[in-house]
């Protein structure tokens, strides 16, 4: 019977092409707007580290100004000082520990005549790569030794590898970083991209993965250009880089991996002891002294999904509803015009059920066509967002969620815009139309 309903629906839609097109456009417009916003919202509100949510923790240490609490987020600084970062690393308590920063470094191929360009790099400890599931196409992280006594090693992105080495295996090849020779030990796949960048929400949460990675503790020896946020409260004079490292400026992100309850207790104990020691030296006068946040908690604290995002999503649903109501009205008009035909079919033996499903099939075709067109329009919408806002390159992307949402929205559109008209027509008294036809 479904094939028959489908045929009748196509007849019916062909008979009133303008009305059919208007219904499809009404649904498509609503779905396109909703799908574009919904897709972006799904990406923005996702947690790419969901599978590690029980064992990864962003570390907050509250060594902030004793006279004023930290001015944002949960009133605890989101980054740590160099001296605290070093203490976290040196303690060697957590299963994995990552201290890192964003830096701008000039990188150049030694044999290239081109002028060097500055790239976004991440100075980090090696556990970064395992903690955040970084995928390599060549090589891997540097050694632990290279962390502790920084060696001139670099991990580069696939994009950089394509640029400098034309995509060839570049392991062992040399690059100049701020004029010094570094050896490539790994190439990160361009498929690896956390969205949002949970590991560093101080900077733009949706920016592209770094171009290169180098050992964090080079920061101690060389004042690489800081590209991340840096905040401070102390008025203590800083004359040298060593003064800066020992100062109270916060500029480093710290993460730990604690794979068991015991490990978590051990790490908590370490933090309490550390803070207690620091208090004796006049630091850590605020309470609480620390906070450990799971990736999801960290996303929430940093308001990655802003109030504007939520309002925009709500508005897109309201717009969709308006479009669907329009489509419903058009569908009503169309079906009521076909009421005499339904009356004839009823007289010839069609049950209310049959009439209902025949018309729902027509509504379904309109819904599917609307969703398909809406999907195409939303691709345009996402491309427009990417073109307008370059920090949304990783957010405004077509994905499986978009397709699933389109299918669900098509079903919802069918039910919403078709159910009532189909029900109404199936419950019309057939005799009324047989005489008046």
């Amino acid at each position: 019977m479904w094939k028959y309903y489908l045929r009748l629906s196509l007849y019916s839609l062909r008979k009133t092409p303008v009305l059919s097109l208007l219904m499809v456009l009404a649904i498509a417009t609503g779905i396109a707007a909703n799908l574009t916003i919904l897709t972006m919202h799904s990406v923005v509100s996702s947690n790419p580290l969901e599978h590690k949510n029980d064992r990864l923790f962003a570390v907050q240490l509250n060594a902030w100004d004793p006279d004023r609490e930290y001015f944002a987020l949960n009133a605890i600084p989101p980054q740590v000082t160099y001296q605290d970062a070093k203490a976290l690393y040196d303690a060697n308590v957590a299963d994995e520990v990552v201290v890192m920063r964003k830096a701008g470094v000039t990188i150049q191929h030694p044999e290239s005549a081109d002028l060097p360009s500055t790239y976004a790099t991440r100075m980090t400890t090696r556990d970064f790569f395992s903690m955040f599931d970084v995928q390599f196409i060549y090589g891997g992280p540097w050694s632990k030794n290279a962390d502790e006594s920084p060696e001139n090693v670099v991990v580069i992105s696939e994009g950089m590898n394509n640029k400098f080495f034309k995509g060839a295996n570049s392991l062992g090849q040399a690059l100049l970083l701020d004029g010094e020779v570094f050896t490539v030990v790994g190439v990160v796949s361009e498929r690896w991209q956390l969205v949002p960048n949970v590991y560093d929400l101080n900077n733009r949460p949706f920016e592209a993965a770094p171009d290169a990675y180098l050992p964090f503790f080079f920061s101690a020896a060389k004042p690489y250009q800081s590209w991340g946020n840096m905040q401070g409260w102390s008025d203590k004079e800083i004359k040298t880089h060593a003064d800066f490292l020992q100062g109270e400026d916060i500029w480093i992100q710290a993460w730990v991996s604690l794979n068991s309850v015991e490990k978590r207790q051990e790490f908590t104990q370490f933090l309490e002891n550390y803070i207690s020691t620091q208090k004796e030296q006049g630091r850590f006068k605020r309470s609480p002294g620390y906070q450990l946040n799971t990736p999801q908690e960290w996303l929430n604290i940093n308001n990655v999904v802003s109030k504007d995002n939520k309002q925009l999503l709500m508005l897109s649903f309201v717009f969709l509803m308006i479009c669907l109501v329009n489509s419903t009205v058009l569908m009503f008009a169309k079906f009521l015009r076909k009421a005499p035909e339904a009356g004839i079919r009823r007289a010839l033996g069609a049950s209310r059920h049959s009439i209902f499903f025949q018309h729902l099939t027509e509504a379904f075709i309109v819904g599917i066509a609307g969703a398909f067109l809406g999907l195409l329009l939303s691709l345009g919408g996402l491309a427009a967002v990417r073109a307008l806002y370059n920090n949304y390159e990783n957010v405004a992307v077509f994905n499986g969620f978009t397709v699933a949402a389109a299918i669900l929205l098509a079903l919802a559109a069918t039910l919403f815009s078709g159910f009532l008209p189909a029900w109404r027509i199936s419950h019309a008294a057939p005799a009324q139309y047989l005489k008046t036809r």
Binding site: M1, Y4, Y11, S12, K15, P340, E341, I344, R345, R346, A347, L348, G349, A350, S351, R352, H353, S354, A429, P430, A431, L434, K435, R437
Partner: protein, 245 residues
Amino acid sequence: MLKMQSVKKIYRTDMIETHALRDFNLEVKEGEFVAVTGPSGSGKTTFLNIAGLLETFEEGQYLLDGNDVSRLNDNVRSKLRNEKIGFIFQGFNLISDLNIFDNVDVPLRYRGFSSSERKKRINNALEMVGLAARARHLPSQLSGGQQQRVAIARALVGEPKFLLADEPTGNLDSLMARQVMDMLEDINKNGMTIVMVTHDPDLARRAHRNIQIVDGQVTDFKIYESYVDSTNHSDNAKKLAANTI
């Protein structure tokens, strides 16, 4: 075949209550050709709609083919309508978007017949009304008489037990009206029970009996001699008269 006892049908609006049928009694035997006449608004069409299970009624009993069909749900009523009743309307009521073949196919679609069975039946029905060659034409490409013959083919294709015709010649000129009536008579002679609503006394006379409805009740009952003579059912006809008036 069809028996209505004390049937009462009321149409209600917020302000008005109209008694379309009241204490309505009628029996139609298998193989009969009954004409129903009466002034406009007398309840003829209401009777036909109730007989065709298109409308429900407030009180009374309706036996169709020996079964009480007074209080059935929509699915069962639709099934009975599909299997046992054929409709012919004054305005033909063909579906303009569908060609002749597909129009005749409509009742069979709800019957669940296989494609080959439907095709066989449709071709036979169109052969019977002399329109097999026009199967792929749209209704708008046929004359009024031809359209009514398509409607007859559609009414008969499912081999119903009886045929309900509402002014079947009302929209036709006299020549075509005669052709359609000849066709209905032939169908009746082959055993089909027919109930036909008409305003035309000449057409009514071609039936076996004439029931007159006035103000929702059967007020007159006439058995035509041709029927008594031809069927030799005078006793039966007299009993019918006694039962229905």
